[in-house]
Symmetry: C2
Subunit: 201 residues, 2 copies
DNA sequence: AATTATAATGACTTTAAAGTCATAATTCAA
DNA sequence: TTGAATTATGACTTTAAAGTCATTATAATT
């Protein structure tokens, strides 16, 4: 394992790789230590317990995704365009980290192993993202582009879940290789569903 | 505990109640036995192991929901009406079993504790439902009501996830009491989102 | 180079819950 | 009404993984 990153990051990275390889449920502290090429006791010098380690892995994953999407979205002016870019960038991120998300979404849809407190921070992270989307929806309503009877935050939740479900669908029907092409058409599909629904208009 | 239902059902029922009360992660075979008022060994006479027990609980839960929704949907003729009824009936079911679903959806979004094989049957159950919806979408496309570029099964996945997300949203913002009123407006909200999207049309 | 401080080790301890099985109670069949 | 078959019991065994800590290695300080 690389020598020039500090142990904290090394442990996070090793955990993340392990999660991709064997899933959450099979992850043990012994395996984390082995993967990082250090002793188990060392892991406990950097992380209070397993729960804290897992939480940091998830937190780091979320922050990276959120920052990336946010900066891309902020290059756009119109609300509709913001949404289009958000969807594409989110799908892109999932694609680029597909093994991680495959575990997150499928192997274990859940966070059984996290303590109540961690579950709360999980929900807070989701809220951060859905609120961000909610703001876009809100200005779209004010500008008259979107229906006035919408609950912006709720639409945020809905969009996030559409993107997630799209990924789950692809994982389950194991699309052999994700391609630029596919990302583009998936983005458009979700975009159209969100904006226009399924009816002929 | 009631004497006139057989032990198998008694154990299933007790497990289900426990899941509602303490969640999946805290569920132990000792607690199940205690809740059912029988010895732990007895539980193992009716279920091979914990995994089998949990799987049966989920399976029974799904079958009940699916049968209920299916029979209601089949009273309708038009595809649009079928979808409207499906959404309402699903939300209703979640409402009536809200403590169970709160655990399923929130406390532990997942199935970490289930063996690979059980996860597969979990996915099969979901597929059964999304395919059912997919069929409705398909005939709606053929009759020209819905866009022709839709992937019916995928729309099935999307709708299921919208319904689920709606419930999660309500749980997280703990709407104090679900009311007839709320179920109706939630149904309409999802229906409109699915059929027309968020744009002004 | 010696001393102190910091970091790392991994064998060991603890914990928690799954799963077992000899024994006991109950039901059934003649 | 007794003996065989079935069902139930719960103390005990097993398992698996989290977490600890006395000991050792490395780095920093004088």
């Amino acid at each position: 394992m690389a020598e020039n990153i500090d142990k904290y990051e090394l442990i996070l990275l090793s955990s993340r790789k392990l999660i991709e390889e064997i899933g959450f449920s099979a992850l043990t502290m012994d395996k984390v230590a082995q993967k990082a090429g250090i002793a188990k006791g060392t892991v406990y010098l950097y992380f209070k317990d397993k729960n804290e380690l897992l939480e940091k892995v998830l937190e780091q994953g979320f922050e990276r995704m959120f920052e990336r999407i946010k900066s891309k979205v902020n290059t756009q002016k119109g609300h509709v365009e913001k949404l289009r870019v958000l969807i594409a960038e989110n799908i892109n991120h999932i694609y680029e980290n597909r093994y991680f998300f495959k575990t997150i979404f499928l192997d274990e849809v859940n966070v059984v192993f996290l303590k109540k407190k961690s579950q709360e921070s999980f929900n807070l992270r989701r809220k951060k993202y859905t609120d961000f989307i909610g703001e876009i929806i809100k200005s779209g309503i004010e500008s008259g582009e979107f229906r006035h009877d919408l609950n912006p935050t709720k639409v945020g939740y809905m969009l996030v879940s559409l993107i997630k479900t799209n990924a789950i669908y692809n994982f389950l029907n194991n699309k052999p290789e994700f391609t630029e092409e596919m990302i583009k058409s998936d983005s458009e599909e979700i975009f159209n569903l969100l904006i226009y629904g399924i009816s002929k208009h």
